[in-house]
Symmetry: C2
Subunit: 213 residues, 2 copies
DNA sequence: TCACTTTAGTTATAGGCTATAACGACACTT
DNA sequence: AAGTGTCGTTATAGCCTATAACTAAAGTGA
């Protein structure tokens, strides 16, 4: 161990190449989607031949997993930064929507069709909880009271929810509604299910969030 | 033209084999998802060798397109039948959710991550309008009045919306909210994004639809 | 009935992909 | 300077989609 910080020149180079591979992967995904992601094509773009990439990623699945992790990380950081800058729920929705529209395939990598065999690793679920934690903070109960619906009563029993995050049932409910309503409109918008019916999804989102419980 | 009805024994056989191919395709999709769908594997299962399938489908894409069409058809029929049997919005939501949960990959084939190059053919969009038409009927304005939000005002200008379906802005708004809220919860549920946080998505859907505009 | 045409299947082949194995060449260590 | 580990290579196996060329059978019409 010449390097106590875990940053030997070798490791530095390794990390650099991994980054570069992911870079090309993202470009490929942005154009053709994740299903068309090809290790071979990436290798060719980088001027090296096929199997070399297996020194850096155990296989296609591991590369995709890394991309998913980065996507989660990017979303969590974006949401956190926006909230810390004083954004309210409407502001968060706007930021998330822009994040998604700037690279729809990245959004679908997280919230799109799940891969059958795929099991999300521990840390990515942890990152997704980061997002939820921000939502819970942003949903800090403005309308507190006793459980109004069966769901509220149900949620009272699940307060340990987000990694022990203590939140009132009403706050949980509010955060859930925010998340699912935004995703409902956004995913359909990104998938092109609104094309033909000419209306502005942004207005629908605004209404949906205005009517939050 | 020996057969005026377009049902020569040859065509009958053709249709039969096409059905059988799609049958195997569905089984394969239900297990491994659409990304793992393999013409070769289907051919092997049917006891014939690879390229034979190209007599029946021009390629993988055309097969998938046919599957998407059938999925839309199934959803539209299910929704229509349920509504005609007297179901209200809550009932429709229940039926749609059951339809989706009975075969999640079929749901994602319609509402999941879009294939980059894929352009939905005319008739599938027509079928999706069938679904929307039922929703509009089911949303028949219980709370009528003048436009309350910018979206309502916006929708007033787009009444020609669903193939000339004349609907009040409030009805459109209601149908949109129903659709996007249901999809928001349902797609996240099917994708497994609620696992870990133990709560019943059905209760959330109920609340979301109770609070419809 | 017999030739003609259409169709359904076959095998062969090209070219793509993931992934592993075996091997050469360099760099880093001691 | 010798040893060791790492990065890259080529070769190969085994999938896949898709096309081409061919065979056999079924339908078609005089």
């Amino acid at each position: 161990m010449t390097d106590p910080g875990g940053q030997s020149p070798r490791e530095r180079y390794r990390a650099q190449v991994r980054m570069e591979i992911k870079q090309h992967a993202w470009e490929q995904i942005a154009v053709e989607g994740v299903s068309a992601l090809s290790l071979n094509a990436i290798a060719k773009q980088m001027g090296m031949s096929g199997p070399a990439l297996y020194r850096y990623f155990a296989g296609r699945d591991e590369l995709i997993t890394a991309l998913i992790r980065d996507a989660y990380r990017s979303l969590a950081d974006t949401v956190r930064a926006s909230f810390d800058s004083g954004a309210d729920l409407a502001g968060l929705a706007r930021v998330i929507r822009e994040w998604a529209r700037s690279d729809p395939h990245r959004y679908f990598l997280i919230y799109g069709t799940p891969v059958p065999g795929y099991q999300a690793p521990e840390d990515t679920t942890a990152i997704s909880f980061e997002v939820m934690a921000v939502l819970l903070e942003a949903c800090g109960a403005p309308s507190m009271g006793e459980p109004a619906t069966p769901l509220d009563a149900h949620l009272e029993n699940h307060r340990q929810w987000v990694g022990g995050h203590p939140a009132a049932a009403a706050t949980l409910h509010r955060a859930l509604s925010f998340w699912t309503r935004l995703h409902g409109v956004l995913s359909l918008e990104l998938a092109g299910h609104f094309t033909g019916m000419e209306f502005d999804p942004g207005l629908l989102i605004a209404d949906e969030l205005n009517a939050l419980p």
